[in-house]
Amino acid sequence: MISLDPWIVWPAIFLLFAASVCTRGAFILLFPRVDIPPVIRRALRYVAPAIFAALVAPDLLLAGNQVSISVGNSKFVAAIVAALVAWRTRNALITIFIGMMTLHGLRYFGST
């Protein structure tokens, strides 16, 4: 089992707390009487698709620092299946379940 440095983990936990309170409390605690400019309001729509794609794309598309888009990349194939399920159902649990089943199915039946 890998283990993480507690000198990273605990400061990170408190930074997460700060990030939570600063964003949730932005107009409850910090600036209860301020409005935000419309361009920021519009930009917020694009934060979710951009950041979540950015978080997963390297894990799915890279194998040993090389782009690997093929049926031999079982994570990539499982992700395509999961993305289709997510698109159709918009349900996180079903998406995760089908994605994990696909990954293990592919590994079990030989392609890695």
Binding site: G25, P49, L55, A57
Partner: protein
């Protein structure tokens, strides 16, 4: 002890509890899988109380990102809360400082989701605030108990199950669910593409650049679409 609107809020949140609980379990398992001790994992769920941002921070810690990148990424995935805060904050009754701190900790996606309707359509109803608090505390209980179960379960799962892939799938689901038109699709594609290009950049800054590039692309496409419609 509990007021009627508080209990009404708690009841209203019930449909979200299975989802919140399971996401807590997933996060608990992922925290242990990433190498957190059970104490640190439970501490993270209790102190940060941040679901998605917790998973993001984990993924970054495992790949050796420095603290400022972790904090920046957590802030970015939390940006949606700024919008929630803006919607609800101005409509809250005058509150003590302590209650404002509590709300700033407790406001969750579901807390917002179940109350935004009331705050929008009946902004002056004095029952809104206790209702919101009732929803938020129930969601909190669901999340913390799910985390605890996940932490206990995670320690018992063999590594061969590749449970860390659950996090990737969760994020993929969030990203796909956010695609509703051409502009959001462009943000998704550019965000993912730039992150791959920038994978070997130092300090995992590629992630931050990718997020900014994706948002900028989304805004640009939105503007193009709008001016195309205007000139028609």
């Amino acid at each position: 002890v509990f007021s009627e609107p508080f209990l009404a809020g708690a009841r209203a949140s019930l449909p979200a509890l299975p989802g919140t609980f399971s996401f807590g379990v997933i996060t608990g398992v992922a925290m242990i899988g990433a190498g957190l001790t059970p104490t640190a994992a439970m501490g993270m769920s209790l102190i940060a109380y941040a679901g998605t941002a917790q998973l993001v921070a984990l993924q970054l810690m495992v790949t050796g990102a420095p603290l400022f990148v972790i904090a920046l990424a957590a802030f970015i995935v939390n940006l949606r809360f700024v919008l929630f805060s803006l919607t609800i904050g101005p409509k809250l009754p005058p509150l003590r400082r302590r209650s404002r701190w509590m709300m700033s900790y407790l406001l969750s996606d579901n807390g917002y989701g179940f109350t935004v309707d009331r705050f929008t359509h009946r902004p002056t109803d004095p029952e809104n605030y206790p209702f919101l608090v009732g929803v938020c505390w129930m969601i909190w209980v669901g999340w913390e108990s799910g985390s605890l179960v996940g932490i206990l379960f995670g320690s018992a799962v063999p590594a061969g199950w590749s449970l860390e892939f659950v996090v990737t799938l969760t994020f993929l689901g969030f990203g796909v669910a956010a695609i509703v038109d051409r502009a959001t699709l462009a943000a998704f594609v550019v965000g993912g593409g730039v992150a791959v290009l920038g994978w070997e950049w130092p300090l995992r800054l590629g992630l931050i650049v990718a997020a900014v590039a994706g948002v900028a692309t989304g805004l640009a496409i939105e503007r193009l679409t709008r001016s195309a419609e205007a000139s028609r």
